[in-house]
């Protein structure tokens, strides 16, 4: 094992020990799958949504904003994990009106921000060509749809391309709900 690989492992454990520890079951599956390089049988995902489902999923994108606001019960400031990124690289704030305000002070912290947003099923994207160094970002989902029977879903999430979602909900990257700079 090389010095770089050893040092990188030490940094990852130091910075992400909590995340790793809390994903024991997923890691067990990951480790099991790492031994199946040739034996595993590829299957198309049964949850891959059809075109119609994807249209429905785009509606769920907005619902996800509400869900994430519910999930983030308190204003949370996450400590960035990558070395070289300062303490307040980003913050996630619940506005209690169905929106979140995500403030990203350093573009280099985007990956770390997204790592922290994964638990809410959200993924932040920066619009290209934004010059501001400090960006106050607000999810572009101010209208909160209700379910046909009334009320709001308790746990709808929008996941990464690899993400299976809780409750077998459709998975879709947050393409239509990109975050926009407001300052």
């Amino acid at each position: 094992m090389s010095t770089f690989e050893d040092n990188l492992w030490s940094r990852l454990v130091a910075d992400h020990d909590d995340q790793i520890s809390h994903a024991a079951e997923a890691i067990a599956a990951l480790a099991a799958a790492s031994g199946e390089s040739s034996g595993s049988r590829w299957r198309p995902s049964k949850r891959r949504p059809s075109r119609g489902q994807r249209v429905l999923a785009s509606t769920a994108v907005c619902i996800a904003c509400l869900a994430s606001a519910i999930l983030v019960a308190h204003t949370t400031t996450h400590s960035p994990t990558a070395p070289g990124i300062s303490q307040a690289a980003f913050a996630v704030k619940d506005n209690h009106d169905g929106t979140l305000t995500i403030t990203l002070h350093k573009r280099s912290a985007l990956a770390t921000l997204n790592a922290s947003l994964v638990r809410y099923g959200l993924k932040a994207r920066l619009p290209r060509g934004v010059a501001a160094r400090t960006l106050a970002l607000t999810a572009n989902c101010l209208k909160v749809p209700t379910l046909p029977g009334g009320g709001h879903p308790a746990a709808v999430a929008v996941g990464s391309p690899h993400a299976p979602l809780p409750g077998n909900l459709p998975s879709r990257p947050l393409k239509n709900c990109d975050l926009h700079a407001t300052s």
Binding site: L8, V13, Q19, A24
Partner: protein
Amino acid sequence: MSGSLPGRGECSPGRAVRDFEVVYRANVAGVASFFARRCAEPQEVADLTSETFVQAIGSLGSFDPRRGTARAWLFGIARHVYAQHCGRLTLAHSGVVALASGLRLDDGEVEELAARIDAQGLGRELLTQLDGLPELERVALELVDLAGLTPREAASALGIAPGALRVRLFRARRRLRTGKEKR
């Protein structure tokens, strides 16, 4: 490896770290080489390798063993990380944003990564020869013939069916042969 894997009821935080280390050590060299074929700077290779594993940790819950192996999953993330990196490079070249370095490398690590970049010279040359091919064909050939993934793993990493991957691979190899014969 599979003999040491935990059962479902044996997922403890310490075990999670050990299991993830197994996955990390089995794949870090391959991921670093993937970036070494694309980047000339040791710092870039280090940052992108680190970012791949940070993003992997952030999306551990999204890993679905039915869709492929851990290696395929990590290479899928690595590909995504590189695409993000290219986006940031575009912004940096246009003066919109300054690129930040994440990891602080000591001289030994820099030297080691520089050697890895040199060692990937042939692979880089091959990628250059394939420059005119569609990206999917190029990456299919790289993942199978250079990174050593099985066609099924490469298909999983690229999010396509194995049959489609084999077609891409066949086309890429044929074009490579044709190009050599012409020269």
